[in-house]
């Protein structure tokens, strides 16, 4: 087995390189999920970068390419064509630590999240569950709650991420 290349923090200056227009618009006409990222003092994290990976509404994980589709004339980002589901999103938090995602309910019940931030030397994985699931049942009730999106109004869910502390989100290890 090869030894892996170590992780390093994304740092504070990824903002002109990694985010792209429409990064949080996976699909229209579906649901909205939004929330804040908080640090261990309960303060919002304005320089986190969230990535999302999910199945389509039928549970297919065969996402299409084209998330970053470019205009070959001038190189600008055209983004997804709005018809083929790519399953991938990327959203930097705003100055108030807030993020938002527009997508469809994944057929397998959850949206995978990868969290990067200045001060985070190795990214963290978590999941946004939109309903009950056997995986959640195996967790203590207090912790389970951190993985479940709260319905806020028709088609809109709330999901906050706490990097540390009392309300700390459950983060996942895939071995």
């Amino acid at each position: 087995m090869n030894h892996p290349t170590p992780s390093q923090t994304v740092g504070p200056f990824y903002g002109y390189a990694l985010p792209f227009p429409g990064g949080g618009d996976l699909a229209s006409g579906g649901i909205g999920v939004h929330g804040h990222v908080y640090d261990g003092a309960g303060d919002p994290v304005p320089d986190a970068l969230l990535e999302f990976w999910q199945a389509d509404e039928h549970g297919s994980l065969a996402g299409s390419p084209g998330t970053l589709r470019r205009d070959p004339t001038d190189g600008s980002v055209l983004g997804r064509d709005g018809l083929r589901f790519t399953g991938f999103g990327r959203v930097p938090t705003d100055q108030d630590g807030h993020w938002a995602l527009r997508t469809v309910v994944p057929g397998n019940g959850y949206i995978s999240v990868c969290v990067f931030a200045r001060g985070l030397l190795h990214h963290l994985y978590t999941r946004i569950y939109l309903g009950p699931d056997a995986f959640l049942d195996a967790l203590p009730a207090q912790r389970r709650r951190t993985l479940v999106a709260t319905p806020e109004r028709e088609g809109v869910y709330r999901f906050d991420i706490h990097l540390q502390g009392e309300k700390e989100t459950v983060f996942l290890d895939f071995g």
Binding site: P4, L163, F174
Partner: protein, 246 residues
Amino acid sequence: MSEPLKQADIDQEIAARAGEHGEHPARDYAPYRSTLLRHPHRPLVVVKDPDAAELSGPVFGVTDVTTLDNDLTKQHPGEPLGERITVRGRVLDRQGRPVRGQLVEIWQANASGRYLHQRDDHPAPLDPNFTGVGRCLTGDDGGYLFTTIKPGPYPWRNHLNAWRPAHIHFSLFGTAFTQRLVTQMYFPGDPLFPYDPIMQSVTDESARQRLVAGYVHELSEPEYSLGYRWDIVLDGPAGTWMEEGR
């Protein structure tokens, strides 16, 4: 007001953690002060599910990059200032298989150590001919190539007189979301290595060496550019063998 944190204080903290085993930095690495409130206290929850969505991942294709994206010296009317370099290597998984057709993204400071980011207030000049962003897809052998300029070191405020060694930020995708990697590539022989808590957060010496590119004279182009080689190995379970080479 407390005394400003000095390099000597950080040096002591770095020394106290040196040699700890681990392929990746510990998230609770205090010498890098921004980690303090940004790492979980509870252990991660292990997922052993062969159907986990994270064992697959996003797919990128020829529409997601343009052919000019991997030459950071050609993005403006003029040539950027600095030492022109090429950085190339292969992206592999832990079994040594090439990661094919996947997205590699880089970003970096200019030759003076300044990022094109409005929150970078280091009083070094911006370069109108350099943005510092590149991307490409890996080839069939997992290979990638960028032409750019060598970034400068830059100061930051972790402690008094803190300087980052010159580095290029890399973002990589494998066939599985579990293989995601964001890291930094360093240049051989940089005198700032021992003072930098971000680089030293990789406490295992041999693991830390894996962050340093090699200078390869044969890869230098006569009268044009200096050649560096940096191979990258993605951690985490890969997709199944059937997904290889999608």
